[in-house]
């Protein structure tokens, strides 16, 4: 009896718990409840808007109209402050001729350098109803300009539709154009020169990219880290299949159809050698058109000639191409000196769109001052920060939600400490970022949103989370059952006798031979 008791003791009482413990999967506790409570569509940003008018009533009216326009959108909440302009400032604004000077006067009194703020200032002598420049100030003429002002605020400054698209799951058109969020990008300027033996090109790619693109990316260094590079691709030829079109006697151009252009991108990609970099790459290519097919002119999808000072096109999430056409005289001299300002200006316009600064459509009655320098407008930077913060927040939450579902479903994946730490960091960062966004602290919110996004990506793409590496439960039982079941059989059967013996009844089993 003691023998079978000891068998039972060893196998069932000690053995089974020991086996259970040793085949247990190491899983760090995860904040599932917090992850399940995520709701990307509930995040909003609050932003400060100050209305400065000549008298109290104007300020009230303008503020009320703006409030009404923005109360529909739940993605951005404006905190509107009203203030009456001081007499002297009013006088200065009315008398100063130029908008730029007016801006400086306003900037002298109010601090326009704080992120996520905006000033709407009344100024009588305006050519149109509303004027917006590069600083965080918009001028309006009077109360009657209120609808135009509201439209300008909605379509230019705040763009709630784009922000809504950033936090939603499906991609809206703006999201399809811009590069996805990330900590950094490489920007490569490639000069493509198909026939170096026939033409010399005088272009300092290094200085061009460092000066022009460098000035631009320095302004948005809070958002992404940029590395600027340049290269020359010689002897890379592409057949545009351009048809010669004669405009007038002695003047001709070559027409390129739009459906031929994606093939140029494929050809460029073969040699741009982007796959050595770890970060995504923005390609800016200057294609020097050989003299025998110059000038090349692009024709759009409706087969209409594109009239623009420069022939250029871009592709979402890839980059942009500018066609450099040498003039007849440059062809004769065999020396092509491209107009650096114009070409880099085109690249900058493409770069802006690829990084998320949307095209501003025209609003009747309002004037958006054309950009005359490389750096972006200050309120565009704010818009980018808002956009990227929301996008990264939403993406992080989606990743964590699907990761939690995956880990919950497949119960035999090991969750090691690093994954647990990343997930916890991501959850904390997301919460903080959400709070900061609601408070309006944009820079800090973006920082935390990016931190959360990167932590969520790291956790999701962790190489150890491959279900393949671990034994599924049913296979685990399939190995142990044939081994232990025959052993357990007599042991379990003897349990009955054991129980009877413990209770004191004599046990007698006979086997007669």
């Amino acid at each position: 009896m003691w023998a079978s008791a000891s068998f039972v003791g060893v196998l069932i009482i000690i053995g089974v718990p020991l086996w259970w413990k040793t085949t247990e999967v190491y899983r760090v506790a995860l904040p599932y409840d917090k992850i399940n409570a995520f709701d990307p569509m509930s995040h909003f940003i609050s932003s400060e808007l100050t209305v400065l008018a000549n008298d109290d009533k104007t300020a009230q009216d303008i503020a009320k109209q703006i409030e009404k326009a923005f109360e529909q959108s739940d993605v951005i909440k404006l905190k509107i402050k009203k203030q009456v302009l001081s007499k002297e400032l009013q006088h200065i604004l009315d008398s100063v001729a130029d908008e730029q000077e007016a801006l400086e006067e306003v900037a002298a009194t109010f601090n326009t350098n704080i992120h996520n703020t905006f000033y709407v200032v009344q100024r009588k002598p305006l050519f149109k109803d509303v004027w917006v420049g590069t600083e965080r100030v918009a001028f309006f003429r009077d109360v009657k300009a209120a609808p135009t002002l509201v439209e300008a605020l909605v379509h230019w400054i705040y763009e709630p539709s784009v922000l809504n698209g950033a936090r939603s799951e499906t991609a809206d058109p703006a999201r399809q154009i811009r590069f996805p969020s990330g900590p950094g990008f490489h920007v490569v300027l490639s000069v493509v020169h198909p026939k170096p033996q026939l033409m010399k090109v005088d272009f300092n790619a290094r200085d061009a990219v460092e000066d022009y693109i460098g000035s631009f990316v320095d302004e948005i260094s809070d958002l992404h880290n940029f590395t600027l590079k340049s290269q020359w691709l010689h002897l890379l030829e592409f057949n545009f299949e351009a048809k010669e079109v004669t405009d007038s006697p002695g003047d001709r151009h070559f027409a390129v159809r739009q459906d031929r252009l994606p093939l140029l991108l494929t050809r460029l990609e073969e040699r741009a050698a982007t796959h050595v970099s770890e970060r995504p790459t923005l390609n800016l290519a200057l294609y020097v058109v050989p003299c025998d097919t110059a000038p090349l002119v692009l024709y759009d999808a409706d087969n209409k000639r594109v009239s623009s000072p420069v022939q250029a096109f871009m592709s979402p999430k890839w980059g942009g191409v500018v066609l450099g056409n040498p003039t007849q005289q440059e062809c004769q001299e065999k020396l092509y000196k491209p107009n650096v300002n114009l070409i880099m200006g085109t690249f900058l316009s493409q770069l802006r769109k690829l990084l998320g600064i949307t095209d501003k459509r025209a609003v009747g009655g309002a004037r958006l001052e054309a950009l005359r320098r490389a750096a972006p407008r200050r309120w565009e930077r704010d818009a980018l920060l808002r956009l990227r913060a929301l996008e990264q927040l939403a993406s992080a939450q989606a990743s964590l939600a699907s990761l939690a579902e995956l880990l919950g479903e497949i119960s035999n994946i090991v969750i090691n400490d690093e994954v647990g730490a990343s997930i916890n960091l991501a959850v904390d960062s997301i919460q903080r970022a959400g709070q900061l966004l609601e408070r309006g602290d944009l820079l800090e919110a973006h920082k935390y949103a990016q931190q959360g996004f990167l932590a969520a990506e790291t956790a999701f793409m962790e190489p150890s989370l491959l279900a393949l590496l671990y034994f599924p439960d049913d296979q685990k039982y399939a190995i142990y059952i044939p081994l232990f079941l025959p052993i357990m059989f007599p042991v379990v059967l003897s349990l009955k006798n054991l129980i009877l013996w413990f209770r004191g009844k004599p046990v007698h089993k006979e086997k007669i031979d």
Binding site: D211, P316, G345, R372, A398
Partner: protein, 350 residues
């Protein structure tokens, strides 16, 4: 009575009229609009050893078609398990043919294989699909798709009921493949997938799929074998499989502006030609295959936006030079080192 006749006549007339109008409008809307923004292809050959030459020819034929129709190398992941082209047993070095006439060298002059030899394993394949690659993996070996990508997945090799053999030593089960695709869907790593598999009992591999937007086709149903097409007596092995042979015949007539549809592709190999029944799974695919152009998966779309608004820069910017360029670095004198440790010879010289 007469009014009834007039009424019915006008009814019939208006009906015919609307039908003709809708027919006239139908042609431009014949293709259902797809909303993908880029195309990727994952082409895998899973067999090793010289007698499986035909699987390498299969996958390279698809590679060649897909490249010809526009998908760039940076968006194609090609996995080949064994080297046939430079194999010492290959009487035509650096070539792989898919036809005994030896007209097209599908290996070509600009092939880029991303995973080759021992790297083609079940683990690496699943890691590639789910994105959980080791941290040092270069970009050319990652599947960098996003929510707008249409992916063509082509697998060929030896398979069975519910599994596909990798390199004659391990298998991937249909459940694992379905789980990997589901994880891709969770992370929104694809818009639509077209899955082709050319092995024996191939349709068992797609039966377990449960993620949306997948259209799958297989060269044979469960219980059937996929057969090879013909032998090239100069090379000495079967050089192409039947299903892929007819697929290639079809694809050679497709050009980037083709109007052919997916349903034509799905019907490319009738039982008389393939000797096995081609299986199709379309319940997970939202659109109607007869309205989907074949270039949605085999071609490459790259949206192009013409720029017409360059920025007119007035002042030429000058970037602040970063501090890391230390101009006061003293140039150090360098020298060539001796190429042999003579110092050890002299000290130890006897």
């Amino acid at each position: 009575m007469i009014q009834l006749n007039i009424f019915s006549f006008s009814l019939i007339f208006s009906l015919l009229f609307t039908i003709s109008i809708t027919n006239a409008i139908e042609i431009p809307e014949k293709f259902q609009k797809s909303n993908h923004t880029n195309n990727w292809a994952v082409l895998v050959d899973t067999s090793r050893f010289w007698f499986n030459y035909r699987h390498v020819a299969n996958v390279l034929s698809i590679y060649r078609s897909v490249k010809r129709l526009g998908i760039p190398d940076s968006q194609i992941i090609l996995m080949i398990s064994d080297d046939m082209a430079c194999n010492p047993r290959n009487p035509r070095p650096a070539t792989i043919f898919n036809n005994a006439h030896e007209q097209i060298n599908v290996y070509g002059d600009d092939v880029e294989v991303d995973y080759r030899g021992y790297e083609v394993s079940v683990e690496n394949f699943v890691r590639l699909l789910t994105g959980r690659v080791p941290p040092d993996t270069p970009r050319s070996k990652r599947l960098l798709t996003d929510e707008g990508s249409n992916i063509l997945i082509y697998l060929t090799g030896h398979g069975g009921d519910g599994f596909l053999k990798f390199q004659d030593s391990e298998e991937i089960t249909s459940q694992e493949l379905a789980d990997a695709l589901e994880q891709m869907w969770q992370k929104r790593r694809y818009n639509e997938i077209f899955f082709i598999i050319d092995t024996c009992q191939a349709s068992s591999m797609y039966e377990k799929f449960y993620s949306p937007n997948i259209l799958a086709t297989a060269s044979s149903l469960v219980g059937e074998d996929s057969l090879s097409h013909h032998v090239d007596s100069a090379i000495g092995v079967y050089i192409i499989d039947r299903y892929t042979y007819y697929v290639l015949e079809f694809l050679e007539n497709v050009h980037p502006n083709s109007k052919k549809t997916m349903s034509e592709f799905l019907a490319v190999c009738p039982k008389s030609a393939c000797l096995s029944t081609v299986g199709v799974r379309r319940d997970l695919f939202k659109r109607d295959p007869s309205k989907v152009p074949i270039t949605d998966f085999f071609g490459s779309v790259r949206p192009v936006i013409i720029t017409t608004d360059p920025i007119d820069i007035q002042e030429i910017p000058k970037r602040r030079k970063s501090q890391s360029i230390n101009k006061t670095k003293v140039p150090e004198k360098r020298e060539y080192l001796p190429q042999f440790p003579m110092h050890l010879v002299q000290t130890n010289n006897y």
